[in-house]
Symmetry: C2
Subunit: 257 residues, 2 copies
């Protein structure tokens, strides 16, 4: 009868107190990594707990539910996208077309210095079964970026250089391009990984040229007004990605260690 009915917990490890923001950020870091790596439903709370080094009680003190993790992660990406769009918007000068062009070029730029992050991110996005995360991030980012883009187009209209049948629809259509870019990027990376770097660059280039041409039409601009292709950047980035070797594409690896 030495064992009590209700077990009294004994804490072996020293407690580690952190400020709520820090703790939240740590947990979010862990969650984000796991989500990108394995996909939303394949990640359990226990996994996050493990990586974040916190207990269940601690977790639920900072988050109300597993869904909150997704919201938090998505919010991060959204804020990033939004601030990047806003700074690009603020940096642009000149007439509406010039500014719009600069804006597009900046937001769709592949910054060479962040190849590893981009590789990791793309890799995660292209992994099958990650649709939920991808969709949510894309939607949230587009929603956040929409007012900025729409504002620029509206200004172009008021300046008389854009001619558009329906402001909202045109904005949404341009935004929708980013969603479809996924497949092009995927094909390009596959080509680059298969030692066809130029092929990959071509895929990306023609896609972006086509997008530019369509935006011309959508905005009622003469052909060639919009250009958001930069093949040298594509080349740099694709090489960096391909050199890292093909990613680990297995998804249901349950083999014992």
């Amino acid at each position: 009868m030495s064992a009590p009915t209700t077990t009294q917990p004994v804490f072996a490890t020293k407690r580690q107190r952190m400020t709520p923001e820090t703790r939240r950020a740590r947990i979010l870091d862990a969650a984000q990594g796991l989500f990108l790596e394995r996909g939303w439903d394949a990640v359990t709370i226990a996994d996050v707990l493990d990586v974040a080094g916190i207990s269940k009680g601690g977790f639920y003190h900072h988050f109300a539910a597993k869904e909150d993790l997704l919201d938090g992660v998505v919010e991060r990406f959204t804020n990033e996208a939004l601030s990047s769009a806003e700074t690009a918007h603020a940096a642009a000068t000149g007439d509406a077309l010039t500014r719009f062009n600069a804006f597009l070029a900046d937001t769709s730029r592949w910054k060479a210095e962040q190849a590893p992050q981009l590789k990791f991110f793309l890799d995660a996005m292209l992994r099958p079964g990650n649709d939920v995360l991808f969709t949510r991030i894309t939607n949230a980012s587009n929603t956040a970026a929409k007012p900025v883009l729409q504002g620029m187009i509206a200004q172009g209209i008021s300046e008389g250089c854009f001619d558009v049948p329906d402001l909202t629809l045109v904005t949404e259509t341009i935004l929708a391009f980013s969603g479809g870019r996924r497949t092009a990027i995927e094909r390009a990376i596959r080509a680059a990984e298969a030692d066809d770097l130029d092929g990959g660059v071509d895929i990306l280039t023609s896609r972006m040229v086509a997008e530019g041409a369509l935006i011309d039409r959508l905005l009622g601009l003469p052909q060639g007004s919009i250009a958001l292709c930069n093949s040298s950047e594509y080349r740099l980035m694709l090489r960096a990605i391909a050199q890292d070797g093909p990613p680990d594409r297995r998804i249901d690896d349950q083999s014992p260690p």
Copy 2:
């Protein structure tokens, strides 16, 4: 000690045998209704079992996993969309533009005789939390319809009346319109329900007019070539929907009966 260790099941009710196809269809019916009503993750296998009137063993005899239900439901919608697109394609005659116009008009038509079904479907689609189902159906339908649409555009190009920078991208862009239509439809229905039928019709009309104008541009056609708006149909349908009273929008109703 009269109770055996392993309970021997006793079947009270008469067994009801059905052909596999029928049973599958019945289960799919139940699942589809529940999915539309409550959303994918809010529906449990037990719910489906209940509505379909079958046991777990029976269910797993016909379906390998819960995911299979989604696939099955999505496949139904896809097939419907595909066959509708193909018949519309086959029915169209004349030059490429005429046929394309007829095709678009037919596939985007609101058939007045199926107001109840459409109401139920839209209602489900617009309900918050149904994004998964909506996304999957939209994606699958678009994927299925894409070859048909792309074929028509390609023919228009070869006939010399369409001028397009990138066939794939243009096709996808036109297809993407259907996704964004959701918000317009939602606003229109809300207006109609708020006794502003004309306002609702206007919303729909202007949206479709704008889509037509944009398709003109995408295909390199003179303004006004494409017209996929039919306000009288919108009026009929919106009235039918609004008269049925506002839908039941609660989502987390756990109140006991």
